[in-house]
């Protein structure tokens, strides 16, 4: 019978038959689903497996509520601590739950039972410091740890630690020794809490490690190709910041404002190369058509550019009238166009008076007048 005829016949059936038809349709949908599901799976792409964005670690987000209820609240800690005097040591800022490690949840690193209602139950199987007890767990996420931090020009002991962990050997240094409570708000990579050198120094001294604290090169990758005779301490006066530098051993005197300029405003970073120790290395001359590189012939390095050496022997060699009132005139007063090819004749600047018109108009003024004497003499 054709489908159309079946449908026509079905419409002649008693009305109650639509109920079992409805049930049959629901069952048919389920059977169809059971058949189509493996077919769909077989046709689905097998290569496009979702790449795990995170390694297979224990995610405790959402099931660490008991931990947060206690450790985010000082009152709760006081109430449950065996020794209330040290209860505040276990207080954790709630904002730490939003950090990269905090979002994993307390259980991810510390284990325990994050849903238990009592302290003993919550602390069952607790791991206080995962980096000490299970350091390999840190390495699940933190692969390829660098041995140098180029931005800070720093050598770090990651390689030695990773080697020990991978070989299953005991390691005296744990991740948390330098990186602190990474899950609780201390993030050395963000720069918010700078891991100062004192952290390294204190630990090195406590453990009497082989690397000498005075051996700056052991940890710091210096940018300078300094002379063999110099050490880091010769210039750098602080172990907290490299910017505190002493200038006592600067090979060139740094008079005036020169001593207040940062090193790399004059020198090229990082090896101090590029300077010829002349003024024009840094300063642009206002009179490029005249003069040589020795600006100090006229200008006092310890003062401003405006002050020019009062005595400049060469000036009188060029012009014997550089004396008297002429000494009070600024350089630009005569050299307003050029410092070279300036006509030394008096009428370059001075007008010939009417009384001299005639036979004395072309005469040499210095025959009668000298710059260090009044015109009337």
């Amino acid at each position: 019978m054709s489908p159309k005829l079946w449908l026509r016949a079905m419409r002649q059936w008693p009305r109650w038959t639509i109920i079992p038809i409805g049930l049959a349709l629901a069952g048919f949908a389920i059977v169809l689903g059971l058949i189509l599901e493996p077919a769909g799976y077989a046709l689905s792409p097998t290569l496009v497996e979702p790449t795990p964005t995170l390694p297979a670690i224990t995610y405790g987000q959402g099931i660490s509520t008991s931990c947060e209820d206690c450790h985010f609240s000082k009152d709760a800690l006081q109430a449950s601590a065996a020794d209330p005097a040290v209860a505040s040591d276990y207080f954790i800022q709630s904002e730490s739950a939003a950090t990269a490690h905090g979002r994993l949840g307390c259980l991810a690193c510390h284990g325990g039972d994050g849903m238990a209602q009592d302290k003993d139950g919550a602390h069952q199987g607790l791991v206080p410091d995962m980096s000490a007890q299970n350091p390999q767990t840190c390495l699940i996420c933190h692969e390829g740890l660098p041995n140098e931090i180029p931005h800070d020009r720093l050598r770090v002991p990651h390689g030695q630690i990773v080697d020990h962990v991978e070989q299953g050997e005991p390691c005296d240094v744990y991740c948390s020794d330098c990186h602190g409570g990474v899950g609780h708000g201390f993030d050395p990579l963000s720069g918010e809490k700078f891991c100062s050198m004192t952290v390294c120094l204190d630990c090195h001294q406590e453990r009497d490690l082989e690397v000498q604290i005075t051996d700056c090169d052991a940890c710091h990758i210096g940018p300078h190709d300094v002379a063999v005779s110099l050490t880091c301490n010769d210039c750098h006066t602080s172990t907290e910041t490299w910017e505190e530098v002493a200038l006592g051993i600067h090979p060139v005197a740094l008079p005036g404002q020169h001593g207040q300029v940062a090193c790399f405003q004059c020198h090229q970073y990082p090896d101090f190369k590029g300077l010829n120790n002349v003024c024009t290395d840094c300063h642009i001359s206002g009179h490029t058509d005249w003069g040589d590189h020795d600006c100090s012939a006229c200008h006092d390095p310890g003062a401003t550019w405006d002050l020019v050496a009062d005595t400049w022997d060469e000036h009188t060699e060029h012009w014997d009238q550089y004396k008297g009132a002429h000494l009070k005139v600024s350089c630009d007063g005569c050299h307003f166009e050029t410092y070279t090819d300036l006509d030394p004749n008096c009428n370059t600047c001075h007008a010939v008076p009417e009384s001299h018109e005639g036979t004395r108009a072309d005469a040499d003024c210095t025959g009668c007048h000298q710059a260090d004497q009044p015109w009337t003499d």
Partner: protein, 311 residues
């Protein structure tokens, strides 16, 4: 990657529970709006009232087979009525109240369509009245049963969403999605499939159905997209679950059966029906089939793709 906890049995239970609740809601809606009485015969009301009880009962029976100790020692099931802090206990109470109401409503609807059943029963039980105020009784049961039906549909979503160890489930979107899906599958079964088979011109009597279908399908698409997008943005395990559905081994089932055949095709059919004020017989039946299939696989994919937090 950890295996999912629950399999086909739970997915079918969720599907039957949702569709049974949605079917009842369809029957209650046509009853309370009076649309049931505009024609001599309303197949939607008959199917909706008749299938809702059996569907939920079958789903509940399947659920019992999924139990572990409860199957071997059935008396332990009674303990599930006492833990009022558990969503499962809420569900058991809701089902315990809804099932008898659904069956009674179904029987009353059949008796209303076939008055000779009451006459036959009076011959054996003389105390039975000659007639019953079907409309009044059904109206009360429709209201009470309707509330319980909504509770049943929502509870199936809440059951999964309270599980914090499965990030894909742990979202308030899930109960809303399951409720919308339940109503949509109920409409698909009672109206598009069964009623259209029985009375091909049934859509002419319910001119607003295409618009209502469009609304619910659109809502379902939106909520499903919200669920998956929020899972992807959450990252970690939730994102891996979502990627399983969208790109992994469940992708063909999702894109072809759920989104293609189950949502976009019915949406197009009902947009056409809304615009042209009619749609073909075959397209109506197929769109109903698609909606029902989508409802089944939405639940199955959500159950199957869930990846729990490893402990």
């Amino acid at each position: 990657m950890a295996e999912h906890h629950w399999g086909w049995l739970v997915a079918i239970y969720l599907f039957l529970g949702g569709m049974g609740a949605g079917s009842f809601l369809m029957a209650a809606a046509v009853e309370l709006t009076g649309m049931r009485y505009r024609q001599k015969y309303c197949p939607t009301a008959l199917v909706g009232a008749g299938v809702s009880g059996p569907l939920i009962l079958i789903g509940t029976v399947l659920l019992i087979f999924d139990l572990g100790a409860g199957l071997r020692e059935p008396w332990r099931i009674l303990l599930m009525f006492t833990n009022l802090q558990s969503v499962m206990t809420w569900g058991i109470w809701i089902l315990s109240l809804f099932l008898p109401i659904a069956f009674i409503y179904g029987i009353l609807e059949v008796m209303h369509v076939y008055p000779q059943i009451l006459a036959w029963a009076r011959k054996r039980l003389a105390f039975l009245p000659e007639t019953l105020p079907y409309r009044r009784i059904k109206r009360v049961l429709a209201i009470v049963g309707g509330v319980l039906a909504i509770g049943t549909a929502i509870y199936t979503g809440v059951l999964l969403s309270v599980i914090q160890a499965v990030p894909l489930w742990n979202t308030p979107v899930l109960p809303a999605l399951f409720l919308v899906s339940a109503v949509s599958t109920g409409m698909g079964l009672t109206f598009d499939l069964a009623a259209t088979l029985a009375v091909p011109e049934v859509h002419r009597h319910y001119r607003h159905m295409p618009l209502i279908h469009m609304l619910f399908i659109g809502l379902e698409i939106g909520l499903l997209a919200l669920l998956l997008i929020s899972a992807l943005m959450q990252g970690g395990v939730a994102a891996e679950s979502a990627k399983l559905i969208l790109l992994g081994k469940s992708s063909v089932v999702f894109w072809v059966l759920v989104m293609g055949f189950g949502m976009f095709y019915p949406l197009m059919v009902h947009v056409y029906a809304f615009a042209r004020k009619s749609h073909g017989y075959l397209s109506g039946v197929l769109s109903g089939a698609g909606i029902v299939i989508a409802g089944l696989f939405v639940r199955y994919l959500i159950v199957a793709a869930a990846i729990p937090v490893a402990l």
